[in-house]
Symmetry: C2
Subunit: 304 residues, 2 copies
Amino acid sequence: MNNARSESIEAYLAYVAGRVADELGTIVPEAWDVPAPLRESMAYSLLAGGKRLRPAFALAAAEAAGGDPEEALPAACAVELIHTYSLIHDDLPAMDDDDFRRGRPTNHKVFGEAMAILAGDALLTHAFHVLATMPDRFPRVSASAALRIVKELAAYAGAPGMVGGQAADMLGEQGETTLAQLEYIHLHKTSDLVVASLRAGAIVAGANEEQLESLAVYGRSIGLAFQIQDDILDLVGDASKLGKSTQSDVAQGKVTYPYLVGLAASKAKVEELTAAGKSAVSGGALPAPERLLQMADYLITREY
Amino acid sequence: MNNARSESIEAYLAYVAGRVADELGTIVPEAWDVPAPLRESMAYSLLAGGKRLRPAFALAAAEAAGGDPEEALPAACAVELIHTYSLIHDDLPAMDDDDFRRGRPTNHKVFGEAMAILAGDALLTHAFHVLATMPDRFPRVSASAALRIVKELAAYAGAPGMVGGQAADMLGEQGETTLAQLEYIHLHKTSDLVVASLRAGAIVAGANEEQLESLAVYGRSIGLAFQIQDDILDLVGDASKLGKSTQSDVAQGKVTYPYLVGLAASKAKVEELTAAGKSAVSGGALPAPERLLQMADYLITREY
């Protein structure tokens, strides 16, 4: 895997996205012995493109900890499998009821609700299969390391993590949302899987507890900054660059960070969180944090 | 754990069901830091009773392989978490659209569809967390053994297994179902998780490949026999003993084993599969297969 840290962050992310897409293609192969519509439904969402930011976090964390990012590729794919299942289920009529994602009809609009639910279940389940095969593929990855990633990912993606965040989001729509509740939702819906990605990549690389903790602080901050930035872009972004209409949160009466604290305070919060995240990984614990620093800057300067 | 194989199978199953229910209670504790409705939705279905047959298979397989069933308890609970999530999702309006299960309103009737989907997702995810904590709890269970169970359970429960079976079942309702398709559905919807339960218990007990293979043959046969027996009971069972109305398959126009091959041939098939399953585990590879033999007989003589 390309380690040249001098290349631009855009080039790096494009390279990672391509590499991850190739790898994900092998995970739902056409020759797979499963009912064809189920496989097609899984592949439709898994291979729909996207920035593959969570895999990039996993690979960059492996590099930051001094490991070989290539060995973190299965963990990166496992996280993307989980991210993809969560999007399919979140889009369902009973949840956010979205008809389009990334400019294409959502999974259930194409394959029906039953197949969308099952494709999500299958992608989630398969993430753990991919993790469990890591030692077979890379002898330097121990069964203990793989099992630790299983444990952490299950916690960060489950009821105490991402699913809990989505549940709080669903429940929040029924009443007033406070700033504390909104941060709970963002931290669990978004930051938790970012933290899991970073830690998974670093565990593969043999990171120690201090390194893992600094990555957790980074991921928590950057994940929250990313989500607030999303709220800001929805409010004031350029629709042509975003590829979707702006002010959809306002139209849906959704409680956002700018809605609660204003635009200026939201922007300041993004800056503050980004600085805190960068500081956590540049304190010396990690031998090669450059990519993570670039990614933090990239996420707050992005226009889409 | 009680090893007295002289007690009746009914007493054994009642003991296991109680032990597993206690253990499952600790898995979704009231003090858990997750949104309350999500935890309640998970606990509602997880602690709804049921025969806990899959956990019993896991514990009996551990005993059959000469191990300590107590150490197989987390694996038994993981399988039950997956079984429970599958029931919640299968009952959804987009799937089988069932309003009642075990005499109580289904999960989505009580907690709403969104929470039911999320509770299922969380239970599925948590199954892998429980497996990943096995070595912390039982030092004799190695990380390699736990990781192998993660890998096998993910395969048997995922797209090539249980989810694939449910997908085929959904798709089958759109057209003619052949005997081969019905067996595919039964083998994947039911047998796969039984096989996973047996193998998980035996892997904890340190079983060798020959032992695991004999358990797989047993589970495949017994799982299919169980499902055909279910079809038979729906057709000719005593509604008061079953606790649900009979002939619901006929009413729903569902294709069943008796519908395709007749009642006599279905009963003969159950006998034949049960004999094949018992033969697979009594060939000498397993030191203590008595419980598994009892369970096989119990499942075909049951009236509910």
